[in-house]
Symmetry: C2
Subunit: 146 residues, 2 copies
């Protein structure tokens, strides 16, 4: 079992991970176009939600826009920004019982000064111990305005 596979006991949750797909609108465009700041805030969000950073990988587009990923022992955080739209698409995928991606969502919504954030949450790797059940990810929270 690798570090990101701290899958739950039979008596606990029946899935490997939680995946929050966040939409941040009305953000500070200068923040969204700052590679160093985006990487710093994404890394801080990972730590804040209880994750352990393994590797980071960020890229600045020309003329503007940042894409990047923080690989964590518990899965990953990813971001793509459109400064010209004040929009960022963010993924917060964490496994195990010790991370809460919603904490990273709240941290980043504030970091980007987003006036309009929302997200969907899906579960990944559904298990019915001791056997696996093959299911697509499914929305457990949809259209949540926070």
């Amino acid at each position: 079992m690798n570090n990101h596979a701290q899958y739950p006991e039979k008596t606990q949750a029946t899935y490997l991970g939680r995946h929050i797909l966040a939409e941040f609108f009305d953000c500070d465009s200068n923040v969204l176009n700052n590679l160093e700041l985006i990487e710093k805030k994404m890394s801080e969000a990972a730590t804040a939600c209880g994750a352990h950073i393994v590797q980071t990988c960020f890229h600045m587009f020309n003329p503007h826009g940042v894409s990047g990923v923080v690989i964590i022992s518990e899965s990953h955080l990813a971001i793509h920004t459109w400064p010209e739209l004040g929009y960022a698409a963010v993924d917060l995928f964490t496994c195990g019982e010790n991370c809460d991606p919603k904490i990273a969502y709240d941290f980043l919504k504030q970091a980007f000064s987003s006036k309009s954030g929302s997200y969907s949450e899906l579960r990944r790797g559904m298990l019915v111990s001791p056997d696996l059940v093959q299911k697509a990810p499914f929305c457990i929270k949809d259209q949540i305005e926070v």
Copy 2:
């Protein structure tokens, strides 16, 4: 407008991107535990679906399991593998009109010899030109067994 922000004309699609969240079960565990092969197949999947690779970032866990991301001009492809479960969680997020993440899904299902693959597809960055509409990602295809 950066490279990954080839957002549609007013007359075309009203969202920036498509995000396929795939669940690959009953995979070849030896493939899922081979970092070089996983990186190669993820990169080939990106190219196959019409994307342009910007950066790759992969990590091998101890004792087993691979996590990695291919950052593309059109967003990203990500993977986390649990060889001990024969399971891989894969994200295929592409923007613009020139990529089809379903092609990457089909490519990887075969590459991992998955006997049971399924996915959900969400849309990201909904637009109602000329103004943005703030919406959470939402499932347009759910529980698809392919």
